[in-house]
Structures are given as C-alpha cells and as structure tokens.
C-alpha cells in the first residue's frame, strides 16, 4: 500500500495562499489545530492529473524559516520535517505575490534551498498587471531553477498548469539546489532584487490604486470618521439585520420542542431533551445570525485589505493601555460574542499582548447580555427623555456598553503592568494591497468560521447545559415543594445568597445566575421560571416577568444586577475557549476570579451608592 502523498502551500503572508488553497481543494477542507499549539492546521484533498489524491496543507504565512512567532515556528517545523506526527511534504508549492516579488523571493529562495521537490506559484499576476507590472514566468523559472507557474487563484487561472507541475515535481533534479543553500539574508535579498529585475517585461508605476485609497482611508482627519462610520454600520447590521433570522431560529427551536413534547411520553428523558438539550443548545444557536453577519463584515474587511488599515488607525489608542492595533479585531468581534473574539487573538504574535486581549475580551458587551439588559431596563428605567431625542433607557444601555469598554481598558492597563508584564508591545504589520473580496473565498471562509463556532460552542454548551439541567432537576421535589428549591442548584443558591445579599441580590437572583453560567441570557428565562414556579396559582404564573420584577426588586437591586452583568464571566463557553487558547486552566481560572471579583465589587458599589442616594 502506498501512503497518501502530501503537498504544502507555503509563502509570505498576503501572497494569496488561502485563495489558492480554496482554488485547489474547493470546499473539501478540514480545519483543526496542530497538537499542543494554537495554530490552525488547514488541510484539504486535491487530485493530480494522474487521478492520484494528494493531501494539501496550507501552512501559516511566514517571512522566513527563522521564526518570529508560533505560526512561523509551525511552518518551519513542517517544511523541515521536524513537526512530530506531520510528514514532510512531498511537494512544496511556494506561493509568491507577483506584485511584491522582490520581497517574496527572499523567503522563496530559502524554501527552494531545502532541496525538496518545489513548484513556485507566481500568484496574483492580474493585480501586478493592474499596478503596471508585467512579469516573465519563464525567466524567473530559469533564475530559480524550479518551475514557475503564473496563477490568479481567485479566478482559477493557471490552476491546471500548477497541478500538472505538482504532479511532475518529484521528477525534479534536486542536485543543483545545494548551491543556494547556506546563503545569508543579505545575499538572498540581493539575488531577489536581481531576479525580479530580470523577470520584469514592462513596468509602469502609474496605476497605484492602493496609494490613492490609502490617501483617503489613512487620512488623519478622514480615516478615523470613515472607520467609525463603518463600525456603526456593522453594529446596526449585527443587531438589526440578524433579528428576523434569530427570531426564526428561536421559533424553529420552540416548534421542535413542541414536536418532541407531543411525540414523547412525559418523563425525565423528555425533559432532558426539551429542557436540557434543545433549550440549551438553542440558546447558542440563536446567536448564529449575528455571528455570521459580523464574520461577513470582518472577512470582507480582512480580504479587502482594510482591516490592516483599521488596526493602523486604532493602534495608538490601544497603545495607551499596553496593547496594539492587532487587538482591535478580536475586541471588535467580542461585541457579538467573546468566543470568536478569543479565537481571533491568534493573529497577535506577542504572547503577553495576546493573553491580555483574551483576558479582557469578555468585558466587551456581547449580544448575550442584551436580553438581560433589555428586561431590567424596561422594568426599572422610566421611558423618559433627558434631552432632545435622547431617551433615558437608551442612555443607560449606552452607559453599560461604555462601562464594559472602560472596564476592559482599565483591566488591560493593570494586566499589562502585573501578570502580563512584558516589553513594550510592538506593532509591525504588513499592509496588504486593496482588492475586491472574492465572493467564493468569502463564502468558504464564512462557512468555515460559522461551523467552527457551532462545533466548539455547541459541544461545550451541550455538556454545560446537561450538567446544569441535572443540577436543577435533581433531586425531585416532594409534592408542594418547588422543584428549584429542592434541586441541588436551589441548595447552592441558598449558600450563594449569603455571599450575594450584601450587594443587594435576593434569593431569586442568586438562583438565576446559576443556570446563567451556561449563557448570560438564560438569566432572563431562569428568573421567569423562578417567579413562575413560586406563583401560588396560574394567574400569578401568567403574570409577565416585568411586573413581577418591579414588585419584587428595589431599584438599587436592579442597578446592582446590571453592574454585575457588565463584568461577570457568566459564560462557560468563553471559559472553555479561553482554556483551549491558553493551553491550560491557569488563565481561565484567573479570568473567572478577577471578573467575578470585579462584578461583586461593582455591583456592591452600585447597590450601596444607590441606597445611600435614597433611590
């Protein structure tokens, strides 16, 4: 039996590797992690002209084989055959950007010098031509000593020729390669310059579209307003456009629950499926529309090249709290959900920067907090105006968002000076050329990210909700006793109430925040359940939650509850993702302790000041 052949795409960042990977493998891709590191391993299946299947892996973009980040270390180890359990690729496909050839040939020479069967994909030749640069692939091939194929990955141009060259690569004569091995960086740089000059057929530097766009988008006075306008549109889209889809999903889940209730006899198994699995997993799935919309914007920003400009604009502000422009993207994502936000921190090379960003990401007001804020604000904040067109309720909501941002900034400042202390974090980032985001690559990227989110959050929340359901459902209540009081969670709530009563929390709140560990918005349904269960008759049960809250809670208690939710890490999925991304329990536990501590202190301060003010 012959083993499956392998090939690897390798090259500089922004060489168009991912688009080429999509063009070669279509949607047949598998995304996982390299064991022990939080670097994504993207693999897919392609076929040589002979029909032979090949496993193609897309290695993290690198500038050289002398790694400056964990991503680059993985690339180095895989191409040199040092990565445990990862076979040395039979064929290396070195991807270079035609419009940035002089730079990309430096790393290409280093890869060719490894002496392995190699093909160079001279990618994005159309973009180079747009910039007025016409290149001779044959001349470059002669200079490099390996086949060079011109490609335009996003339009699938040159893909057939590239696959053919990959099929023939193992017949290459490798003996001459050793001449270039052991060259120094300046030597390779000089050679890259000469080879580039030798390959240029014509050059005219008139059409530099990106320079013109940068003039506007990085303009000192126009750039930031454009960025903030874009962010405003994204927020509008995430919260307004997603609603009908989220409602539809919610309705679907409710219908499914009804279906199961109709089809199965009442009992523990049915309760487990409806109250545990469907309700729990459903509570995460309803966020999918928001996350997909947010990802669509983020992908479009990344693939168009604008994201690097956004990071550039935000860098100075982030620097005040010891972070860099690279933290901007993860923190922006965290406004929809901290899970994709924390996953997006992988692009931050500096480990201390990355850790700080992970630790403060849960302070960004994620969409799961909105249902909680909405109910409490509707119940306790009067719908009056405090100025022309400024409603008090909206102002309080805005204040809660600002409290989260300020909290995150202060936390980052403190963390960077204490537990995540490190040298001044730098910001070195290549700003890619602008391009229209290719729809196909957008669609594949969107599908992959949505799937990764569903799988990760889904499995974690599945287990968490089962655990919580067990805590809330057992032991079974005696007749006349409420199920929640009798349950393990009810007894835990009694204990917690002792700790939480000084900050104004009543027993119902103590109880509601236990299931809300699964997801924050569960607090609303948990409160509804608690009050409904305690109702003496059906009429009381039917009474809406809002009047019950108004009757049962004081204003200071309600405000303390809001302050609690600004900080409290009430999301098991976030903790679990933080554990994965930091490779251990140390930092997620730290995150739990500091955020619950902050939640307690700020809820307390809110409660005590409100009481002192006589509210």
């Amino acid at each position: 039996m012959t083993r499956l052949r392998t090939a690897a795409l390798v090259g500089n960042p922004n060489a168009g590797k991912s688009a080429l990977f999509n063009a070669l493998t279509g949607a047949r891709q598998k995304i996982a992690n390299y064991p022990g590191v939080t670097v994504e391993r993207k693999a897919g299946r392609m076929f040589l002209p002979s029909g032979e299947p090949v496993e193609l892996i897309d290695l993290p973009g690198s500038y050289s084989l002398d790694p400056a980040s964990p991503d680059e270390e993985v690339t180095r180890q895989v191409v040199q055959g040092d990565f445990p359990g990862e076979p040395v690729p039979d064929v290396l496909v070195v991807v270079v950007d035609a419009a940035n050839l002089e730079q990309h040939l430096v790393f290409a020479q280093e890869l060719i010098a490894l002496g392995r069967p190699t093909v160079v994909a001279l990618n994005m030749v159309d973009m180079a031509e747009r910039d007025g640069l016409v290149l001779d692939a044959d001349a470059l091939s002669a200079a490099l000593g390996v086949p060079v194929i011109s490609t335009v990955a996003v339009r699938k141009r040159g893909i057939e020729a590239l696959v053919e060259a990959m099929g023939d690569a193992e017949k290459q004569d490798l003996s001459a390669r050793h001449e270039v091995a052991g060259q120094s960086l300046p030597e390779r740089r000089l050679a890259a310059r000469n080879m580039t000059r030798g390959a240029i057929l014509s050059e005219d530097s008139k059409h530099r579209l990106h320079a013109k766009l940068d003039k506007v988008l990085l303009h000192p006075w126009l750039g930031p307003p454009i960025l903030f306008a874009l962010l405003f549109i994204i927020f509008q889209a995430v919260f307004a456009w997603a609603t009908p889809f989220a409602d539809a999903l919610d309705g679907g889940i409710t219908a499914l629950i009804g279906l199961v209730e109709g089809a199965m006899p009442a009992g523990v198994v049915r309760d487990f499926i409806t109250e545990g699995v469907l309700t729990g997993v459903g509570s995460v799935v309803v966020f999918l529309p928001q996350i997909v919309i947010l990802f669509a914007f983020i992908l479009a920003m990344e693939q168009s090249g604008y994201m690097a400009r956004a990071a550039f604009i935000m860098d100075r502000l982030m620097a005040y709290v010891g972070l860099s422009g690279r933290s901007f993207i993860p923190l922006l994502s965290s406004f929809a959900c901290a899970i994709p936000g924390i996953m997006a921190t992988r692009s931050i090379a500096d480990p201390k920067d990355r850790l700080t960003t992970i630790l403060v990401a849960p302070l960004m007001t994620c969409s799961a907090r909105l249902p909680v804020y909405a109910v409490i604000i509707a119940a306790f904040i009067p719908a009056t105006t405090v100025g022309p067109g400024i409603g008090l309720q909206g102002l309080v909501l805005f204040g809660l968002y600002v409290a989260g941002i300020v909290g995150a900034m202060v936390a980052a400042l403190v963390l960077r000076r204490t537990v995540a202390k490190g040298g001044a974090s730098g910001f070195i980032m290549e700003m890619p050329r602008y391009q229209m985001p290719p729809l196909r690559d957008m669609a594949i990227g969107l599908w992959q990210r949505a799937w990764v989110f569903l799988r990760r959050a889904g499995t974690i929340i599945f287990i968490a909700t089962i655990a919580l359901w067990v805590l809330l459902s057992f032991p079974k209540a005696e007749p006349g006793e409420s199920q929640i009081d009798a349950s393990i969670a009810g007894h835990v709530a009694d204990g917690m109430h002792v700790i939480l009563s000084p900050i104004g929390f009543n027993r119902e709140i103590s109880l509601a925040i236990i299931p809300a560990m699964a997801a924050r918005e569960v607090a609303v349904s948990a409160l509804a359940t608690t009050y409904a269960v305690e109702g003496a008759d059906e009429e009381e049960e039917a009474q809406g939650l809002i009047p019950r809250l108004q009757a049962g809670w004081s204003l200071p208690t309600a405000l303390a509850f809001l302050a609690w939710f600004v900080f409290a890490p009430q999301c098991i999925s976030t903790i679990a993702v933080a554990k994965r991304e930091t490779n251990g329990w140390k930092w997620p536990i730290f995150m739990l302790v500091y955020l619950f501590g902050a939640a307690y202190v700020f809820a307390g301060l809110t409660y005590w000041s409100a009481v002192a003010l006589g509210l």
Partner: protein
C-alpha cells in the same frame, strides 16, 4: 555623531536610505521580523502615512512595493540619510 537623522524624523514621502539599525533597542523577534521584511541597513524607505494621535504614531513605511506599519520606537532605532 555626524549623522543623527533617524527615520521617525523624516517628513512624509521624503526618500531615505537606512544606514544603521540599533537592533539592541528592539525586541529580538521584532528585529527578526523587520529584517525579514527587508527593513534593514541599505533599504530605501519613505514614510507614507502617520497616525493622527499623540506622537503621530504608528508610521506606515514604504519599503519596495510594500507598506509596513511600524511604531515610532522602531523608527527611532534606525539612522537614515536622505537620498
């Protein structure tokens, strides 16, 4: 020292060549990354854009056909001469 013009002092679009980089002033990985990007002694550079906030930080540096965002602290470690 006869030449003490550092990269951060260049006016936008003023062309210069890096003559010396004080690598000891930079974190090792950052130095490695800058060298790999071709930001090293001998490179022809120009500042394309600067941030608007205090210190006009960061800096978008043109090097070859690439634009690279760096911080002012990096630029200050690089001695340049106008070309």
């Amino acid at each position: 020292m006869e030449n003490d013009l550092t990269l951060d002092l260049l006016a936008p679009l003023e062309r210069a060549e890096i003559v010396h980089v004080d690598w000891s002033a930079l974190a090792p990985d950052e130095g490695k990354r800058l060298r790999a990007m071709g930001i090293d002694a001998g490179a022809r550079v120009a500042i394309a854009h600067r941030g608007i906030f205090v210190g006009k930080d960061p800096i978008a540096l043109m090097v070859g056909r690439m634009n690279v965002a760096i911080r002012r602290v990096h630029a200050r470690a690089m001695t340049v001469r106008l070309v």
